[in-house]
C-alpha cells in the first residue's frame, strides 16, 4: 500500500513534467498555429545546459538559471531563423521542417557534448526524503518538482489570462493581422511566445535531469507522450492537458509497477516476466486507443479555439 502511494506520487511527478511540455506545445500551437516537433530538442537542451553550467559553477541553482536563459536564447534564435518561415504553411510542412531541426539538434549535441550523455548531480540538501503521510517517505527533490511545476503552471495561467501581454497573445491567436494593425509588433510577440515555450520545455528538461536522464534523443520520447496527453485531454484545452497529464503519468508509473505482479496472478512466472514489461508500455497507448474510439475529441475539448 505504501508502495502504491509512493508510485502514485511518482506518477503525479511524471504527470507534472508532461503537463509542462504539453502546455508549451498547446500554447505555441494555439497562438501561432505552429506544430513544433523540435520542442523536445529544447527540453533536451535545457537538461544539457543545466548539467554543463552546474558543473562549471558548482551550484545546481546557478546552473538551472543559466540553463533557462540559454534555452530562451536558443528558442528565440530558432524562431527568428527557422520558424518564421513556417507560419501560415501546412501543418505537414511544420512537422517535416521541425523534424529536420530534431536531426540537427541531436547531432549538434552529439558534436558538442559527445554521445555518452551527462549527469546532473543534486545538491546534497535535496537528497533527503520527506514524510508526506505517516510511514510514507517521498524524495524531497521529487516533491520540489511537483511544487515548482505547479507554481510555473500558475504563473503561466496568470500571464495568459491576467496580463496585457496575455491579452495580446490571445488576441493574436484569433486575428494576427488586426493586432498588428492596432500598433503591436506581432513578430516580436511571436518570438517572445516561442521563447516562453522554449523556457517551459527547458525547465522540464533540467528539472528531470537529476533523476531521469540527460542523453541524446530524450526529447523525442517524451514529446510523443506530450502529444498523447494533448490528444487525450482535448486539443486546445489547458485544463484537459492537466487532467490528461495526471492520468498518463499515473497510469504509466503505477501500471509499470504493478502490472507484472498482476499478470503473475494469471500467467506463468516466465510469461509474466516476458509480457509484463511489454504490456506496461502499452497501457498508455491502450488508453489513447480507448479515447479515440469512445471520445475522439478528447476529455475536455475546447469549445472555441
Amino acid at each position: 500500500m505504501l508502495y502504491f502511494i509512493e508510485q502514485s506520487l511518482n506518477g503525479v511527478q511524471l504527470g507534472m513534467l508532461l503537463f509542462l511540455l504539453a502546455a508549451g506545445l498547446t500554447l505555441i500551437f494555439g497562438i501561432m498555429d505552429l506544430v513544433n516537433l523540435a520542442h523536445g530538442s529544447l527540453y533536451m537542451l535545457g537538461a544539457y545546459f543545466a548539467a554543463t553550467f552546474a558543473a562549471m559553477t558548482g551550484s545546481f541553482i546557478a546552473g538551472a538559471l543559466l540553463a533557462l536563459i540559454a534555452t530562451l536564447l536558443v528558442g528565440m534564435a530558432v524562431e527568428v531563423i527557422a520558424m518564421r518561415r513556417l507560419y501560415g504553411r501546412d501543418h505537414l510542412d511544420h512537422v517535416l521542417g521541425t523534424f529536420g531541426l530534431i536531426l540537427f539538434f541531436n547531432e549538434l549535441v552529439r558534436l558538442i557534448w559527445g554521445p555518452a550523455g551527462m549527469t546532473l548531480a543534486l545538491p546534497s540538501e535535496m537528497l533527503t526524503a520527506v514524510q508526506v503521510l505517516p510511514g510514507v517517505y517521498f524524495p524531497l527533490y521529487r516533491l520540489v518538482i511537483i511544487v515548482s511545476t505547479l507554481a510555473v503552471a500558475l504563473l503561466l495561467y496568470v500571464l495568459v489570462m491576467r496580463t496585457r501581454i496575455g491579452m495580446l497573445i490571445r488576441a493574436g491567436a484569433s486575428n494576427r493581422e488586426m493586432v498588428g494593425a492596432l500598433g503591436i509588433n506581432i513578430k516580436l510577440l511571436y518570438t517572445l511566445v516561442f521563447g516562453l515555450g522554449a523556457v517551459l520545455a527547458g525547465f522540464a528538461g533540467l528539472m528531470q535531469a537529476p533523476i531521469l536522464t540527460v542523453q541524446i534523443g530524450m526529447g523525442e520520447n517524451i514529446l510523443i507522450l506530450a502529444f498523447v496527453v494533448i490528444i487525450i485531454g482535448g486539443i486546445g484545452s489547458i485544463r484537459g492537458a492537466f487532467v490528461a497529464a495526471m492520468l498518463v503519468g499515473l497510469i504509466d508509473t503505477v501500471g509499470r509497477a504493478f502490472l507484472p505482479d498482476l499478470m503473475r496472478l494469471f500467467l506463468s512466472a516466465n510469461a509474466a516476466s516476458t509480457a509484463g514489461p511489454a504490456f506496461s508500455s502499452m497501457l498508455i497507448y491502450m488508453l489513447t486507443a480507448g479515447i479515440l474510439v469512445f471520445r475522439p475529441e478528447g476529455l475536455f475539448p475546447a469549445a472555441t479555439r
Binding site: 529536420g100 539538434f105 510523443i224 516476458t274 509480457a275 479515440l292
Partner: protein, 315 residues
C-alpha cells in the same frame, strides 16, 4: 499528363536503367559493397513508395510507417526462429500481419486529423517498438540474427546476392506500378479527392474514412513485404527497424524525391542514401547537414526533385 519525353520521365528511365546495371558495375569495379548498399536503397525505396501512396496521394501523413518494416521483418524472423523457413509461409504472413496492424492502427488513428493523426501514428508505432523490445525470446533490445534466408524451394535462392538484388528491383518496380495503377484508378481519385475536400466526397457518396482506411492498409501491407525483404537483406531483425526516426527517414525520402510523383520516393531514396554515404565519408556528424538541408527543401523546394523537374515544364 505531360509529354512522354519530359525531364522527369527521362530521369526515371535513367534511374531504372542505372539500378538495373548496378550488379554489373559492382562486380566489374570490385566494390561488392555497392551491391549491398543499393539493395538497401531498393528496399527502403519500396517502403517510401508505399508511404507516399498514403501520404502524398492520400494526405495521411504517417510518422509510423516504419512499424510495418518491423512487423514484416519480425514475421520473417520469428517464423525462422520457430523453424518455419519457407518464404511461401513467411512472406504472406508478413504481409497479412502488416495489413492487420495497419487496419487496427488506421481504424483508430483516422478518427483524428492533421497533426494529431501524425502524432497518433507515431505513438502507436512507439508502442510496437516498445513491445518488440519486450520480446526477450526474439532478441529484445539487442535484436536477433536470422540464420537462414527465406526458402522458396528450388525457385529462387535468396542467398545469392545478385539474385536477391534483382528480386528486390522487380518487387520495387512492381510496387511502383501497383501504386501507379491505384492512384489512377477510381479508388485513387476518391482518395485524392478526400485529401482536399472531405465533405464534398461524402456528399457525393464516398465516405472518406472507409476509403482512407483501405488505402492505409494497402500501404502498410506492401511495406510489410519490404520489411520481409529487409530482414533477409540484413539477416537480422531488431526493434531499431521501427524506431520513429526510421519513419522519419522514409518521410524525408518521399518529400525529397517528390510527393506528387509515384516514382518520386525512389529518386528520394537514391538521393538521400547516396548523400548519406558521401557525407559520412567526409564527417562523422553528417546528420548536422541533413537536418537543415531537409528544412530548406521543405521551405523552398516543396515538390522535391520531381517537383522541380516537372515545374520547369509548367513554367
Amino acid at each position: 499528363m505531360s509529354r512522354r519525353f519530359n525531364t522527369l520521365n527521362l530521369l526515371i528511365a535513367g534511374v531504372i536503367a542505372a539500378l538495373a546495371l548496378i550488379p554489373v558495375y559492382s562486380a566489374l569495379s570490385g566494390y561488392p559493397f555497392l551491391l549491398s548498399l543499393f539493395t538497401r536503397i531498393l528496399i527502403l525505396a519500396m517502403a517510401a513508395v508505399t508511404l507516399n501512396l498514403i501520404m502524398g496521394f492520400g494526405g495521411m501523413v504517417s510518422f509510423g510507417h516504419a512499424a510495418y518494416l518491423g512487423i514484416g521483418g519480425y514475421a520473417v524472423g520469428i517464423l525462422a526462429k520457430e523453424g518455419f523457413n519457407s518464404g511461401f509461409l513467411q512472406w504472406p504472413v508478413a504481409v497479412a500481419a502488416s495489413a492487420l496492424f495497419a487496419l487496427a492502427i488506421g481504424a483508430l488513428s483516422l478518427r483524428t486529423r492533421g497533426v494529431y493523426f501524425i502524432m497518433i501514428t507515431l505513438a502507436f508505432t512507439q508502442m510496437i517498438y516498445y513491445v518488440a523490445i519486450g520480446l526477450d525470446r526474439y532478441g529484445g533490445d539487442d535484436g536477433m540474427t536470422i540464420y537462414r534466408r527465406s526458402q522458396f524451394g528450388g525457385l529462387i535462392n535468396l542467398s545469392n546476392r545478385t539474385v536477391f538484388y534483382y528480386l528486390c528491383l522487380v518487387l520495387l518496380l512492381g510496387t511502383v506500378y501497383l501504386v501507379y495503377r491505384i492512384v489512377n484508378s477510381r479508388f485513387g481519385l476518391v482518395i485524392q479527392g478526400s485529401r482536399s475536400n472531405d465533405r464534398r466526397m461524402r456528399a457525393i457518396g464516398f465516405p472518406p474514412y472507409r476509403y482512407k482506411l483501405v488505402c492505409f492498409v494497402i500501404g502498410g501491407a506492401l511495406c510489410g513485404l519490404a520489411g520481409a525483404l529487409l530482414a533477409n537483406h540484413t539477416d537480422f531483425i531488431s526493434p531499431a527497424l521501427m524506431h520513429w526516426t526510421r519513419s522519419g527517414d522514409l518521410l524525408v525520402m518521399s518529400v525529397l524525391g517528390g510527393m506528387g510523383s509515384v516514382f518520386g520516393p525512389v529518386i528520394g531514396a537514391v538521393a538521400l542514401l547516396m548523400l548519406e554515404e558521401t557525407l559520412s565519408g567526409l564527417t562523422e556528424y553528417w546528420q548536422i547537414i541533413i537536418g537543415p538541408l531537409f528544412l530548406l527543401v521543405v521551405l523552398f523546394a516543396r515538390g522535391g526533385i520531381a517537383g522541380m523537374l516537372v515545374g520547369e515544364h509548367r513554367g
